[in-house]
């Protein structure tokens, strides 16, 4: 059995993905468990996406993002979203220079490689929307000048699902720009014991940069080269189309529960995330398992549910599960 292209690609991937091990070891110094979250962070980073982490406070969301950026030799900024935050606090503004007698751009924290938007749902929509151009086009316009953001550029946002007071739900246009929305769960018993011991002992491991931004950019190129067969492409499209019109896939009982389905951006994100997942698994080709592995994170914030679904306590998770269990695997 021989497959020259894929074999070469597999070898390239083995080589290009070697840094993942190094990164995991370094981040593992400060983060115990949360492998799922770290894997998703890597998927977003490798597939040029942005990630929204949702979980109750104290699950090391912020620490994970901070550790990842520390382990990669890049610029990191953190913005704590508050109700009084202004767009200029994120993007920057034009400041008058008395000495020179002109306006100069004072770049905001968005001009970095990793941007942590902590508790993004605490700021009003106008501030959230300030990130739109940066997230999609990767440029920022200040005054008359448009600045290109340095690659890799990754927005990692966190939000707390339990507090509703004083929070602003992310608008659909904003939330669609996040490639993944990851729900973080509690750590396992043994993991939590280790976390407890580590913190009680007052150990604050210092995360050192182990890889460069160039390594990430090279890995991104390789991710794009991961082979995706047309059968997988069809599978991805079947899943996305089933979110729009479930009855076409003989899942009639879902139609009244979905108010809107995934956008074309969902198809792109699912394809890219699947490739990145295959890369993380050191494979040069995508298999249906890859698509299924990332489907929940790609789709959960892109499917709108009806009031009827809410009344029946049916969530996006249930809808995605049903679709994955009913759409034929190639």
């Amino acid at each position: 059995m021989e497959s020259i292209d894929i074999k070469t690609l597999n070898e390239k991937i083995q080589q290009d993905s070697a840094f993942l091990e190094l990164l995991n070891i370094e981040i593992g110094k400060s983060i115990v468990g949360q492998k799922y979250m770290l894997e998703r962070l890597m998927i977003a980073l490798l597939s040029q996406g942005h990630i929204l982490l949702e979980g109750v406070p104290g699950l090391a969301k912020t620490l994970a993002i901070k550790s990842l950026s520390d382990a990669i030799d890049t610029k990191f900024s953190r913005i704590q979203f508050t109700p009084d935050l202004l767009p200029a606090d994120i993007l920057g503004t034009m400041i008058y220079n008395q000495a020179k007698g002109n306006f100069e751009a004072k770049k905001g924290p968005v001009f970095s490689n990793f941007l942590l938007a902590d508790e993004i749902n605490r700021a009003p929509a106008k501030v959230q929307s300030a990130l739109l151009q940066a997230m999609q086009e990767r440029v920022i316009t200040l005054g008359d000048t448009t600045y290109k953001l340095e690659e890799p550029f990754l927005v990692m946002a966190t939000q707390n699902p339990i507090e509703q007071e004083g929070t602003y739900n992310l608008p659909e246009a904003q939330v669609d720009r996040f490639m993944l929305k990851v729900k973080i769960g509690y750590p396992e018993f043994e993991e939590e014991r280790q976390i407890m011991r580590q913190n009680v002992a007052g150990k604050n491991p210092n995360i050192m940069p182990v890889i460069s931004a160039q390594t990430i950019l090279q890995a991104r190129d390789t991710v794009r080269q991961v082979y995706m067969d047309e059968k997988i492409e069809k599978y991805i499209l079947d899943i996305i189309f089933a979110t729009r019109d479930a009855s076409k896939y003989k899942i009639e009982n879902l139609n009244h529960l979905i108010s809107y389905g995934g956008s074309p951006r969902a198809s792109i994100s699912l394809a890219m995330a699947s490739k990145a997942y295959a890369f993380i698994k050191r494979r040069g080709y995508v298999i249906p398992e890859d698509v299924r592995a990332v489907a929940h994170d790609v789709l959960r914030h892109r499917i709108g549910i009806t009031y009827e679904a809410e009344a029946e306590n049916i969530t996006q998770e249930h809808i995605i599960d049903t679709i994955l269990n009913r759409v034929e695997v190639p």
Binding site: E2, D229, K231, E289
Partner: protein, 337 residues
Amino acid sequence: MREILHKNPSNISLYPTLGNSFFWINTILIFFILLSYSSSANAQTASASTKDKEFLIGDWIPVDLFMSAPTNNKVAFPNLNDSISETIEVANYTPIDTIKKGNQNEYHQLVNLIVFDTGKINLPQFQFLIENNGKIDSITSQPILVHVAGVKIDTSKDIKDIKEPLKVPLTFKEILPYIIGALVAILIIALLIWFFKYRKKKKEKIDEKYTLPPHVWALKELDKLQQKKLWQSGDVKNYYSELTDIARTYIELRYKIPAMEKTTDELMASMHKGVLKQSLKTDLNEVLTLSDFVKFAKAQPDFMENENAIKVVKDFIDKTKILEEEANKNKSKKGIQ
């Protein structure tokens, strides 16, 4: 004045003199008589006539309507309806034909009448209208007496049957619409037959999966796949796609597992819950994994692997099939319980 002449004939002088006023009256009278005579030479005349007087019942009776009038007069022929009376009908009539003769116009119109009565029949009078210097006058033709005879029946002979309508040979133009219609109908019927047969076949194909025992259906499909010689012709990807589809469908039907919606790993995990021999599972897993490589990673297995893949699936089906006797036993057991 005619009354006076009749009453006092002795008062009339036969030899009027110039000095006599009666002479002048006579002269004026003669002048008007002569004038009326001269004008009568150009007078309007109208008539209706037939050449023959004897007709059979139902025959066309050609009536010539004639009128002569000065060229400066406007004339109007009788207005002809479908029927004139209960027994006389108008079959048809020609347009009015005009012939100019000096300062007179002669008008002819041939009207064919049909009389549905026998005996002496008076054809009706026809009224013609003339307009002269804004004055409208009418002339009525004389009635025409014709004899209409019935059909003579020879009572000495047998009564004959009603004659069949005469058969006129059909032209191609007449039958062309029928030919086109028939062709269209044949085409529609043929399409309907094809459609229903095709649907039935399709239905049968779907039904077969559920009507036949899973192993019978699967082995039949595998034979069909072998006959297609897909990998031999270089279509390895389709060969493995069809092979895994058959294997998955068999598992779905046999073990009631939604195999078509599961990935290889998920499928094998769900199969572990069953009571299958480990060797069978391992072999099947190898084939399904190899199929995934071919389908998703452009793998090109050698011919031994291709041959072996279908054998493994056949072997799996053969060793996991529910035999009819077993199935019947199970059914009867359930029945007893």
